[in-house]
């Protein structure tokens, strides 16, 4: 059942020594690779997983934060603010689903009420001035299904929800189009530095580069230790989440945030861009960096909390439960450091804000690398963001588009009924620039099998399409002759 590691995507004949190697194909690593790809550099991204964005990136609350509540003056605050502005713009151009639902911070106790002015003040210090107080009546007017007992709140009109799956895929796709090599399924086992280059040992051979970026997420401290670092330790924090069926979506207009207090951070209830309702996360410090299990206690606690915030949620069906790990450290801020002598950048401790801040982080890191001596000569012919398949609920999906169905009837053949995913979309995903390695990857690209039936109706058919696309006889789409030529890359010659 374990799929074979996917072949490298990108230039067929990479340079023996790349200019720069990025470890980590999460939302931060792919954003950095994309930013670097604007320059005349040969770039390789390696990751242990067989797909982009499979760590912290894929399992989070899927909120595009304004950064209103970050610690003022921190690097995180600065990069969040910058990153969220950049990502709002990028998402619109790349077709990444974003819905500006706004958020309401809801206070249920006197203690929480007393914390509100401080939060408002913090937002202003962070340069976010659109925040405004709301009375209890104002809260119930905005959210009629809110549970009884809300006392007061704050409105943050620019908080949005985003697709956390399309985002790193768009970055990776743009990077590959610009000549970046993506080598997945390659866990890093060591780094040897000397003679002006880093040799990154992976389970699938060494990858050599003159500069190295550590964007390894939950493995950030391990990679940093290989580079002689050791200023921080990743302390994975597990967050369990519950996804409710789309029939629950009308219960909610905006993101409902808890007011953090000394005792508890609380859980949020948020819409998703797929039209579901999300409840979570728990926050549990754990030792095992791969333990994304949900727990009976975690799920029960979430349901209990959810019943208080939006009581009608109790009657709705749960579509999915999952857990994600946040790359927290003992420090309160990001751990970003560039070592000019070592030709090394450490981009770690991105905690839970990497999705929102990703483009800000990438811009900052590449600027720092340039300052440290990485030659940044802009290259010509930058294509800009790719147009990604739209999998949000707010816009027009292929099944709703008569023109598209007329041009290609496969967009009228719905396979996944809960999410209304067509054969055409699955076919496209299987043949895309960064194709899925397994059905999980296909879910993240199309939403197929993500609905209330979780595959009762469609999993067999979708798996059959996947198996046909991956059958060795036909070759993987990524391997098929002409795949590299699908996106002609002027860098090919230069890289060789």
């Amino acid at each position: 059942m374990t799929p074979a590691p996917p072949p490298a995507i990108g230039p067929a004949a990479p340079a023996p020594v790349a200019d720069i190697v990025v470890i980590g194909a999460g939302v931060v690593g792919t954003a950095i690779a994309r930013e670097l790809s604007r320059y005349d550099l040969s770039i390789v991204v390696v990751d242990a997983a067989t797909d982009v964005g499979t760590g912290t990136t894929k399992a989070n609350t899927a909120i595009l934060h304004t950064g209103f509540d970050a610690a003022p003056g921190s690097l995180e605050s600065r990069l969040l603010r910058r990153g969220s502005a950049l990502l709002n713009d990028y998402a619109a151009r790349a077709g990444i689903p974003v819905e500006r639902t706004g958020a309401l911070l809801v206070a249920w106790t006197e203690e929480q009420c007393q914390a509100l002015p401080g939060i408002e003040d913090k937002a202003r210090q962070n340069g976010y001035t659109a925040i405004r107080p709301l009375s209890a009546a104002g809260l119930y007017q905005r959210e009629p299904h809110l549970g009884p007992g809300a006392l007061a709140g704050l409105e943050i009109p620019d908080e949005s929800v985003i697709c956390p799956w399309t985002t790193p895929l768009a970055y990776a796709t743009e990077a590959v189009h610009a000549g970046v090599r993506l080598q997945l399924g390659s866990p890093v086992t060591g780094v040897r530095t000397g003679a002006g280059e880093h040799a990154v040992a992976t389970a699938r051979g060494a990858v050599r580069g003159r500069w190295l970026v550590n964007a390894a997420g939950l493995g950030g401290d391990v990679i940093d230790a290989m580079m002689g670092g050791g200023g921080f330790t990743i302390r994975p924090r597990r967050g369990e989440l519950i996804v409710f069926d789309k029939l629950a979506r009308p219960l909610l207009g905006s993101i409902l945030l808890p007011v953090p207090t000394a005792q508890t951070k609380g859980v949020l209830v948020a819409p998703t861009v797929y039209g579901n309702v999300l409840l979570g996360p728990t926050a549990e410090d754990i030792g095992d960096r791969s333990d994304t299990d949900t727990t009976a206690a975690g799920l029960a606690g979430l349901l209990e909390a959810g019943r208080r915030i939006v009581p009608d949620l109790a009657g709705e069906q749960v579509t999915a439960t999952y857990a994600g790990l946040r790359a927290a450290t003992e420090h309160r801020d990001y751990q970003i450091r560039v070592d000019p002598g070592l030709h090394y950048a450490c981009v770690a401790g991105i905690r839970s804000t990497g999705l929102s801040a990703s483009l800000g982080i990438a811009e900052y890191v590449v600027d720092q690398l340039g300052g440290a001596g990485l030659p940044l000569a802009e290259r010509g012919g930058i294509a800009g963001p790719p147009v990604m398949p739209y999998i949000g609920e707010a816009g027009t999906r292929p099944y709703q588009d008569a023109g598209r169905i007329a041009a290609d009837p496969e967009y009228g053949r719905i396979v996944c009924h809960c999410e209304r995913v067509t054969r055409g979309e699955i076919r496209d995903a299987l043949a895309s620039t960064v194709p899925p390695a397994d059905t999980g990857g296909l879910r993240r690209r199309t939403r197929a099998m993500n609905g209330r039936c979780q595959g009762f109706f469609c999993a067999a058919a979708v798996s059959a399409m996947m198996a046909a696309a991956q059958r060795p006889a036909g070759g993987r789409p990524a391997d098929a002759p002409g795949h590299a030529g699908e996106h002609p890359s002027p860098e090919l010659g230069r890289l060789a």
Partner: protein
């Protein structure tokens, strides 16, 4: 396109209804199904035992499905597979979660009948409507040939049901491949010829669970056991005996799955004995969640039909009409899950009611008397009566129980009055029947009827 009756769902209920409607002289009957092939769940239920009660012969599921599809076409109904109802008129503003969903395109609402004021009403005043044909419903259909608008004088929802997957059952642990429902299992094995070597564990011990066992054995799996949180299996003794003897698959009672383990692939499950609290780990490569049915009620909810809290399908009266005038519902959407022949019987019954309604021959929709159940009974279907309304399909109500009772007395009460008593044997997941003779004795002014154990 204009039709007399649009039927959503070409399973046994929808097809049987289409055939009967044509037999009764209703001219334009369109049956749509979102699956690539019509026939419904029996298409991928390859075991035998179908057709005994309605066609008076024994057939396999696919044979039964083919029979009904061909009969519907022969009867003159139009059957369109690969066609999804995507533009059902969504009604905003109704109280409750069902009413608020979806795009508020006024064009979508134009075709809907007048709102049924069901929400805040006491038992007496039910969803009202005109006795004869109302304004036609307008529905969008999506298929490979495009998006088409169909107007229908009446709509029958026959969208069936599905098993709740592990997420909905809140089973914690990891999320590896190899965990599925019976529906997915049957399609993998019978439609796509997939082999499932290795050990398999089945969650549930109802009829469908034993059907999953046969399917797994057919696919080359070694079935370790069937586990149920109930004190006994809930199927026929003969099935359990056959399982134990022929496939050496025991039923582990009072046992629940506490955790799923394995990341890239399923490694096994942690089981808990609900009596002793003891846990044990059982290795397996396939885990099948069976039964725990939920009706596919999306269309009903989007239209704002009242949902019965017991069946979780649309609330229906004995004519199988929902709270929305001229929107009917039949099959496992209103009784999840019964066997195919029972669904088909409901289809024939509702067809007669639709035909009468289209001809203006039905009692006025004046009073809606809810019929409810008390624990350990979990639901009753249909779940409302109207004065002058017909007897339900096969002259009886269907009920479910959450508990075993070798001998129970069901009591039908309205206020302080006992309308009927009946003997029943209760087994969770198995049908309990209640003769409907009492409905004529119900007082239209006395409100809710409740069925409880005496």
């Amino acid at each position: 396109m204009n039709v007399d009756v649009l039927i959503a769902g070409a399973g046994p209920a929808g097809l049987a209804a289409g055939i009967e409607l044509r037999r009764l002289g209703v001219s334009r009957v369109l049956i749509v199904d979102r699956e690539a092939e019509a026939g419904g769940i029996p298409r991928h239920s390859a075991h035998t035992g179908y057709g005994l009660r309605d066609l008076h012969r024994v057939m396999t599921g696919p044979g039964y499905a083919r029979h009904y599809v061909q009969a519907a076409v022969r009867a003159g109904a139009e059957v369109r597979a690969g066609t999804t109802v995507t533009g059902w008129p969504v009604r905003p503003g109704l109280p409750g979660p069902a009413g608020h969903i979806g795009p508020s395109d006024p064009a979508l609402h134009a075709g809907l009948p007048d709102p049924a004021p069901h929400a805040d009403l006491p038992d007496l005043a039910g969803p009202d409507g005109p006795p004869g044909p109302a304004r036609p419903l307008s529905v969008s259909l999506t298929s490979a040939s495009g998006i088409e608008t169909v107007t229908a004088a009446a709509v029958l929802l026959a969208t069936g049901c599905q098993e709740r997957p592990r997420a909905a059952r809140l089973v914690p642990g990891s999320r590896p491949p190899g965990v599925m429902t019976t529906g997915e299992l049957q399609q993998r094995v019978y439609l796509y010829g997939q082999r499932l070597p290795g050990r398999a564990l089945i969650v549930g011990a109802e009829h469908v669970s034993f059907s999953a066992m046969v399917t797994l054995a057919h696919a080359g799996a070694d079935v370790v056991a069937l586990v149920t949180d109930q004190p006994r299996q809930q199927s026929y003794a003969a099935f359990a005996l056959a399982a134990a003897v022929r496939w050496r698959a025991p039923v582990w009672t009072c046992t629940a799955v506490h955790r799923i383990a394995g990341h890239d692939r399923l490694e096994g499950v942690e089981l808990a004995n609900l009596r002793t609290g003891a846990t044990s780990f059982v290795g397996c490569d396939t885990l099948v969640f069976t039964a725990d049915w939920i009706p596919d009620h999306e269309l009903a909810r989007l239209a704002g039909a009242e949902i019965d809290p017991g069946t979780r399908g649309p609330a229906v009266d004995t004519a199988l009409e929902t709270s929305l005038p001229l929107v009917f519902a039949a099959g496992n959407l209103v009784h999840a899950a019964e066997t195919a022949d029972i669904a088909a019987a409901g289809g024939r019954h509702v067809a007669r009611q639709i035909a009468a309604a289209l001809r203006g021959r039905r009692p006025p929709r004046v009073t809606w008397i809810p019929v409810t159940v008390a624990t350990p009974l979990s639901w009753i279907s249909p779940n409302a009566i109207r004065p002058g309304g017909p007897r339900p399909a096969r002259g009886r109500f269907l009920l479910r129980s959450d508990a075993f009772r070798r001998l129970a007395w069901l009591e039908v009460r309205q206020g302080g009055r006992v309308l009927a008593t009946a003997r029943a044997r209760l087994v969770p997941g198995r049908p309990v029947h209640l003769d409907a003779g009492w409905i004529d004795r119900a007082d239209p002014a006395a409100g809710r009827v409740q069925v409880a154990l005496r």
